[in-house]
Symmetry: C2
Amino acid sequence: MRLAKQTILRLFQYREFLILAKSIGIKNVYSDTLAEALGSSATQVRKDFSLFGITGNKRAGYQLDDLLSQLNELLGKNEKQKVIIAGAGNLAKALMQYEGFKKEGIEIVALFDNDPVKCDPQNDPPILPIEDLYNFVSEKQVELGVIAVPYYVAQQILDLMIVAGIKGVLNFAPIYLKAPKDFFINDMNLRLELETVAYLIKTRTKAGVHKESS
Amino acid sequence: MRLAKQTILRLFQYREFLILAKSIGIKNVYSDTLAEALGSSATQVRKDFSLFGITGNKRAGYQLDDLLSQLNELLGKNEKQKVIIAGAGNLAKALMQYEGFKKEGIEIVALFDNDPVKCDPQNDPPILPIEDLYNFVSEKQVELGVIAVPYYVAQQILDLMIVAGIKGVLNFAPIYLKAPKDFFINDMNLRLELETVAYLIKTRTKAGVHKESS
DNA sequence: GCTATTTTGTGAATATATTCACATTAAAAA
DNA sequence: TTTTTAATGTGAATATATTCACAAAATAGC
Ligand SMILES: NC(=O)c1ccc[n+]([C@@H]2O[C@H](COP(=O)([O-])OP(=O)(O)OC[C@H]3O[C@@H](n4cnc5c(N)ncnc54)[C@H](O)[C@@H]3O)[C@@H](O)[C@H]2O)c1
Ligand SMILES: NC(=O)c1ccc[n+]([C@@H]2O[C@H](COP(=O)([O-])OP(=O)(O)OC[C@H]3O[C@@H](n4cnc5c(N)ncnc54)[C@H](O)[C@@H]3O)[C@@H](O)[C@H]2O)c1
């Protein structure tokens, strides 16, 4: 089965929209509906579903509840997920206070920092010394991590996470990290993404990142 | 000329690496060096350069200073860029305190919020009422924006930005935004990116997001 | 100055992703 | 019931991105 990261991301987006749609009482959707909502194409939507064996009803489209539960199952949203964050700085603070993760079953179980001043074991979630990372992660069997430390320590923190048992990370440090090939790294370089928009504006080229306005 | 967002992103990454390399005294690089540093391939690097008319020296590779200044020119890094942020919440606070933007010539000139408690015109950068956005942006001719408001107001804030003269945004609100086709929207859905890693871990499929470890 | 070697630059080949085109099917209408 | 209509599902076609393969050029060694 294909595993293209972007396809998975789209499936999550479909799910996202369905949750919203459900909340306003919508009962069934068409590939068209989803395409419109995401700025994609109906064929793309059906192709994505087809790829994962998700099937609808000819002429009647997709029953929302049914589709949603298929996506939930497929995307593993029926199980909760624990995550730790390395680095308790500005970005980590924003993530910690963001209620969206918990709502989606992702629980930040701890943060780790090497600055004693930033540590606070009484906080919820606890902010612990980086030395505790190994034991915490291996004991609690956490598999998901976020890297929010400065770039010059990111590789060493990643290595620590790997030996502790972390299986994949979302990395905010602006540097290329090396890891075994079965380890997942999703790089988020916020500054570069902003610079890219700045560049695109300056050179005012035709095709946008988005589709045209409806 | 091609404008693929991902190609541009890679050019910025090359530049990033060059700055780092320069700081440790490196004088010239090869497509190989860059590929290694970014987890890419030498051919990809040369293809990217070729696409933008960047040219090196056969056998001797690329002179670092020269390459860097070509990239700076190409990527518009010789001019400063002003940016505003809509929404002065947790994420905006992290962005505001991040010194990396200024270092790269991106100046956050103001934040805007509809919560009077969050506003603080004395702050540097000033946090202003959302009502001031239009005048501020059109007078100061700001073209770049960041959307850091809740999803349910994101479209209306974007519309406001567009009429004020903003030409492109980095959008953190987890929703698809509609805009004219010459307007650039770069969507950053942090939660979905984290959920995607969580999914990939669970299904432990072969090919990673990154290349194999060196 | 000649030769061997290394690296670039790029057209062609391949791989990947998206869109097209349409047969198939289910529902609605007649 | 039969026909019409509107949607899905998917192989084929196209578009896009990456890698291969190698000629051309510049340096280093002799
Ligand atoms: N804040 C942003 O808006 C932003 C934007 C783009 C990129 N980033 C990147 O995200 C990462 C985090 O950014 P931030 O703004 O939160 O930085 P920050 O400086 O506020 O936080 C970094 C934290 O990491 C901790 N730390 C340093 N070394 C450590 C170590 N060896 N072990 C454990 N903890 C350690 C520090 O004590 C600090 O609390 C950085 O790599 C930064 O470049 C941040
Ligand atoms: N914080 C995170 O880690 C995180 C992670 C993923 C996504 N996001 C997304 O980023 C966006 C911002 O997140 P946040 O955590 O900073 O949220 P937040 O609630 O801390 O901040 C949002 C800010 O927007 C302001 N606001 C609300 N309506 C407004 C309006 N009409 N005009 C101007 N300002 C208005 C609020 O007063 C608040 O200060 C949200 O869409 C969120 O879903 C945030």
